[in-house]
Subunit: 325 residues, 3 copies
């Protein structure tokens, strides 16, 4: 089995999750434990959210070298609801300006007794670099890494699917969009593979296809309508308007919507009880019709709720793994 260095480093010697850098190579039992734990933090809408004191006295630093509202808010609230002290560091206010290297920033925060680093960066390899250099009692959670990985998104997607379609071995999942540049696609594909799904179909416009080697076992196509037959789960990715312009000089957002948008009509080609997902933020009426996004088959808002619960579960899990070292 081809395991890259970082994957080994994600687990402690006794097999517990220490860092979350990528879903690739994680044992299914560990993923299922995370799903169960996250589920235990879900509460009905309108009820107060779950809280836990597991991180009382601990410090979580959110290091966002790339802007993000949703993911940062989700991690910040997760840490606060676990009773942690939270430190938000955005790149604009950081000492990067002064030329300090990322690792020196990390060593500085480590010396301030930060316990968990939540890291988002536009470059590949930064979360792994940090994880390889922190002290043994510290954990790193990858909150989005260039085009490479977005493992907490992958886990929250798995949780959302499982709550509607618990038998992964029966599932056909269709992901539509700019697969070639999507860390979301990569992470959910790895997650689904761990959970043993039946079929993954990736639909990409010409020029936005992935390297087939990155998606072993997946079907790759540019024909959305054909791909939808028999689909249980339909996931639309955010399309970067500038990417359409680059790749296909004649393709407008209108064209994109016509050929690759999830519309009410197109949704009928999938199974009647198929669910529709989107990692957000959406371009309404580009990659997804507003009526579908807000319709009865949409689980888009559940994804957000599940994401916060999953981040609480991850914080709880890595803190406990560290406590046992």
């Amino acid at each position: 089995m081809d395991v890259r260095t970082n994957h080994a480093a994600q687990l402690t010697s006794s097999g517990e999750l220490r860092h979350l850098l990528s879903l690739e190579g994680l044992p299914r039992s560990l993923v299922e434990d995370l799903l169960d734990r996250a589920e235990s933090y879900l509460r009905p809408i309108g009820n107060p959210p779950a809280r836990d004191n597991l991180l009382a006295g601990r410090t979580v630093a959110n290091l966002f070298f790339e802007p993000s509202t949703r993911t940062r808010a989700s991690f910040e609230l997760a840490a606060k609801r676990m009773s942690a002290d939270v430190l938000n560091l955005d790149v604009n206010m950081s000492s990067r300006k002064k030329g300090e290297s990322i690792l020196d920033t990390i060593y500085t925060l480590e010396a301030m007794q930060v316990d968990v680093f939540v890291v988002r960066d536009a470059s590949v390899g930064i979360p792994e670099l940090i994880a390889s250099n922190v002290q043994p009692h510290i954990s790193v959670l990858n909150a989005g890494e260039a085009d490479a990985a977005h493992p907490t998104q992958g886990l929250l997607d798995l949780l959302t699917i499982r709550r509607h379609k618990p038998d992964f071995s029966a599932l056909k999942v269709v992901v539509v969009g700019d697969i070639g540049h999507s860390r979301v696609a990569r992470s959910i594909a790895q997650g689904l593979s761990i959970m043993g799904m039946r079929q993954l179909c990736l639909v990409a416009p010409p020029g936005l296809e992935p390297e087939p080697d990155d998606y072993p076992g997946a079907q790759i196509t540019s024909e959305l309508d054909a791909a939808l037959a028999d689909a249980d789960v339909l996931m639309a990715l955010r399309i970067q308007r500038e990417r359409i312009a680059e790749q296909e000089s004649l393709m407008t957002t209108h064209d994109y919507h016509r050929d690759y948008g999830i519309t009410a009509d197109r949704l009928k080609l999938a199974k009647p009880n198929a669910i529709v997902m989107h990692p957000g933020p959406m371009n309404r009426d580009v990659e997804i019709a507003s009526t579908v996004a807000d319709g009865p088959q949409s689980v888009i808002r559940e994804q957000v709720t599940n994401g916060l619960a999953m981040r609480m579960a991850l914080l709880a899990t890595v803190i406990q793994a560290n406590g046992e070292q």
Copy 2:
């Protein structure tokens, strides 16, 4: 009675405050309850501030699409002293950049179980738009809406006045400045009308007058000295330097101060025990002389203290209204 849709929406079916979008149309008893509750949160300067656990486990999101130091700090400390978890989202770090609509941002935060949205925006109608679309257990507090409304400022002004002049029916209030563009003027006028004040006099330089229909019953004039006769309360508004330049090419800040500034000499034209107010931040020696701002009749700093207490009272009030739904 001409009640716009949003005003009905501010109250629950049993008449309790669910959102605060505007003071217009609020029942006097409800306003008085807010004043009483805010007063209960006041502490002598130098003593620790009041605290309350009413919002423990709740989440307050400060959504400031327009920059603000004072109002944001006031809401942030109010929420923290009520034991809430606080999420600050400024527009620069937000996903507006990515084209996400405001409502999708709201739905996302709602799915993270935010209980109260504090919203400041430079466009009219955003707080009402949000309030019309959130789930029934969620509240919206308007923290400043274009030129249209600044209801928490209006309430803190009422509290400040009441602590010095409890009988509103006897009061003459004079507001001086750019009435035409002031959300502060609008909100205090609505508040004073609810409390049944005797006389409101609005003094505006030529070109900065309001639409008379916006201020039914108020006297509108450009003659400050005459307006001051018999005044109990004198409120100077912040003047935007760029507005002076626009409207009156020959008017300098020096001219403004001479004609519309609250000076020590001019203050003598009002009642001897008149109080002087300013919503802040001040342009010292433009709309108000420094000696007056720091003088014995000034209650400007009390306004700030009362503002924080009023925001605590509002958080307490809307959380309890929601709990009963």
Copy 3:
């Protein structure tokens, strides 16, 4: 003794620390109490950090008019671990834009019952200005003031030195770098003077020397190698690349490293058990070789840990002084 006004103002009438504006003129006993108290907040790496409830219900405002990651994070975590409510105000979001004067910002926050102001500014005199104008129960901590003072850095440096070299009267300390523009040099020199160190040697490249009057009793030289003989403590200052260019058109960072960088070879000229310090952030392989920064004689990360403990000690000390007034 030449004591400037602000130094008197730092202490209460009973000699307790009310503000920390500068180390100049502080009694040695008071400095030693701070070192002892900070030491009591140190915990072994990997253990949870120390916590204290001394600031529960109190509010600390971080007013950073100049960007800083490290110092702001250190103060923020110190305040949170002392159980304070923390308000972060960065200049970009502040009302300075609107022309509000700094003092009016302070009066506003004072009226919101802020207890401690942590102030960093690029202008000389701002912390003293604020301290001279706040109410008697409020404290100001200088978190970096132009080129003039960085007293919390000076204290954390003293603590770091004392933990390795407890007998100050035997010490030779060498500080290398842009002494002429360094608030760090100024504060550690004042601190060492209070603690009665044996010898302070300041090494500055031509054009970056200090005014000798600012460093009474210190040796000032441009010859690093000679200065290192018999040194117990070696402190490299951050060099501003733009300052090298200004002062010495032919000096590159390579030249700087060759002549003034702390290298492994050069370190051998000092005592064998000499410690190496740097206030951070470092330009690796400019003012300090990476191998030295990460080597066995480096105490650079301890400085960061000690800094957080010192800031907790300062918060505890000024809150108690205020409680007794």
